[in-house]
């Protein structure tokens, strides 16, 4: 009997250590990625990286200024196209979402969230690039917006539902109309949470590559307008990483460092933003 208890204790201990091992194994890649990106990327980050265009193939030097600006343009467009509809659709789900239409919308948003980003690129290619006849920042921004839309919608809905019912009733009881209540009281209260969700969605699309390959494409020069092929950091990293040139690899790491720092900052600040409230 005693031996039995000892064996059971040992098994318990062993399972605990296996779980510790699993956790260690899961976290190691994160630190390895962060280490490599920092160690190799810092060497490539200099003034030229932020201010110059890529050097011609084979020449050393140059920068990624156009890709940095391009990425910001693409994400900016995605926010403009994706966030307002996402928030409004989220409001609909929270306020009127118990209808059959609400259920269908929620279902569609979930389905949309699971669609591989590359197929979103194929879709936008067919409806924008083929129609206009050329790649453009607009097409890239639209594909990123489509990827953001379901996340923004569902986060907005969830956070609006968390607002205490008493607030809504107090406003309605004072004779405030429903739409004013929703906008001035509910959305206002839920704002930090919604902002968090939006920031996480931005962080995600900032690193998206696959849908940009055949929507915004790439460009080794400045795009004259949003209606032209546009460079972006993720696509640049991809092109440079699979190239045979040493100097391009260096620049790929620098671009990756920039991307990772930005994504981590968004994630950490999103986290700090919600903490004091909940």
């Amino acid at each position: 009997m005693r031996a039995n208890i000892r064996v059971r204790g040992l098994i318990d201990r062993a399972v605990t250590w296996l779980c510790v091992l699993a956790t260690a194994l899961a976290v190691v890649p994160l630190f390895s990625v962060l280490y490599y990106v920092a160690a190799r990327g810092l060497g490539g980050v200099n003034l030229a990286f932020f201010t110059e265009l890529p050097a011609p193939v084979g020449e050393v030097g140059g920068g990624a200024a156009n890709a940095i600006v391009g990425s910001l343009q693409l994400v900016g467009l995605a926010c403009l196209i994706g966030i307002p509809p996402g928030i409004l659709a989220g409001v609909y789900l929270a306020e009127y979402g118990n209808s059959a239409l609400g259920k269908l919308v929620r279902f569609s948003a979930d389905v949309m969230a699971g669609v591989p980003s590359i197929t979103v690129g194929l879709f936008v290619y067919a409806i924008v690039v083929l129609q206009t006849g050329h790649f453009s920042a607009y097409a890239g921004g639209l594909s990123l917006a489509i990827i953001m839309l379901p996340t923004v919608t569902r986060t907005t809905e969830e956070l609006l539902r968390l607002v205490p019912e008493a607030l809504r009733e107090a406003a309605l009881g004072l004779g405030v109309s429903k739409w004013r209540t929703t906008i001035s009281i509910l959305l206002r209260t839920a704002l930090p949470g919604v902002a968090t969700g939006v920031m996480l969605a931005i962080a995600r699309v900032f690193g998206e590559t696959a849908p940009l390959l055949f929507t915004s494409f790439s460009n080794r020069y400045w795009a004259e307008s949003l209606n032209e092929p546009t460079a972006s950091l993720p696509v640049q990293i991809f092109t440079y990483a699979v190239s045979p040139y040493e100097d391009w690899h260096r620049q790929a790491w620098a671009a990756a460092l920039l991307l990772v720092v930005f994504v981590l900052l968004l994630n950490v600040s999103a986290r700090l933003l919600v903490r004091p409230r909940v």
Partner: protein
């Protein structure tokens, strides 16, 4: 949530809507509802349009090859013959191997984080695992080329060959770029997804289940094994399927590591090609209509399969969550 508030809605004409006559319609509310509904419908329209557009884009290929598209291994753009089997094989095998690696690890992490870890460690560890999901795919690809692939080539693959070299999966030349490396990076990328869903599932199971076992003298592991895991099982399957859905559609990191050769080989060391990768690599180069349609059909397949998997997974997770809520 909508019992009192609907009664209080001013336009409903209830006695509580002071200052408004019963017949007065609040146009602001009407407009607000219609506007938000419009944007909500936009989501349905988008996803439907996507499905239809993919069908239209791949029409040429669907008509030309029919079901044979799925079983032909011949991918020759120059001769205009297209078969998707090598890509289906590469996608399925890399995703399944990734799943086999990621599921045990994720369940271990989730068990540690929600049942065992000291409270002070839980937050930072959970955040680290979440950050794994935040690292962009293309950065994993870059890291994979310069950090993971050399380690796989020089250490992991030779070790596997010495230990299991009698199996066909671990034979042939190993260059570090191939199915196995692609699977490893996929496993890293889907671990956070599976972990977070598994933790949610564990959280949905009432404390009393564990306490009942502990009160009977069970060790902590025994309480998890008898009180948590049996109830959680459908949810765990759901978590794994969600991970599989992500792995199937994952593009960049795999494209950069799997070797990109449309061949079917038993060896996991051999280069392969996935559905998402072939679209990423060849779509902008494809000039002929049939070529574009064939790539679009691969996209359509990917679209259909991931949606189906997501639906199954959501149903399974939802079942555990609602069962846990009832108890």
């Amino acid at each position: 949530m909508n019992t009192l508030s609907t009664q209080l809605r001013p336009s409903s004409g209830s006695p509580l809507s002071v200052g408004r006559s019963a017949s007065q319609v609040n146009w602001g509310d009407r407009v607000f509802k219609v506007t938000t509904a419009g944007f909500a419908v936009l989501i349905i329209v988008t996803i439907t349009a996507m499905a239809l557009q993919m069908l239209v884009s791949s029409k040429l290929s669907l008509r030309e090859f029919g079901w044979g598209f799925l079983t032909s291994t011949d991918w020759n753009p120059v001769l205009g013959s297209f078969g998707a089997l090598p890509f289906i094989y590469g996608t399925v095998v890399s995703s399944l191997v990734a799943l086999a690696l990621a599921v045990p690890i994720s369940i271990g992490v989730a068990m540690y984080l929600s049942e065992m870890a000291p409270p002070a460690l839980r937050g930072p560890l959970a955040f680290s695992v979440e950050l794994l999901a935040a690292v962009p795919s293309v950065v994993y690809g870059l890291w994979g080329i310069f950090a993971l692939a050399p380690v796989m080539r020089d250490h992991v693959e030779p070790a596997l060959r010495t230990l299991f070299g009698f199996l066909p999966f671990f034979q042939g030349p190993n260059q570090g770029f191939g199915l196995l490396t692609g699977s490893v990076v996929l496993a890293i990328m889907i671990t956070p997804t599976i972990t977070s869903v598994t933790r949610e599932v564990f959280k949905a199971i009432p404390r009393t289940y564990r306490e009942a076992a502990l009160a009977l003298g069970a060790t902590r592991w025994e309480s998890i094994r008898t009180g948590v895991l049996p109830v959680a099982r459908p949810g765990l399957v759901g978590a794994a399927i969600l991970g599989l859905g992500r792995a199937l559609g994952e593009t960049m990191a795999v494209t950069m590591l799997i070797g990109n050769r449309p061949e079917i080989s038993a060896s996991l060391f051999a280069p392969s090609y996935t559905m998402a990768s072939v679209i990423a690599n060849e779509f902008t180069e494809a000039t002929e209509d049939l070529y574009l349609a064939a790539l679009a059909e691969i996209g359509l397949l990917l679209f259909g399969v991931t949606i189906l998997l997501n639906l199954i997974a959501r149903f399974l997770v939802w079942r555990v969550a609602s069962a846990g809520g009832r108890a």
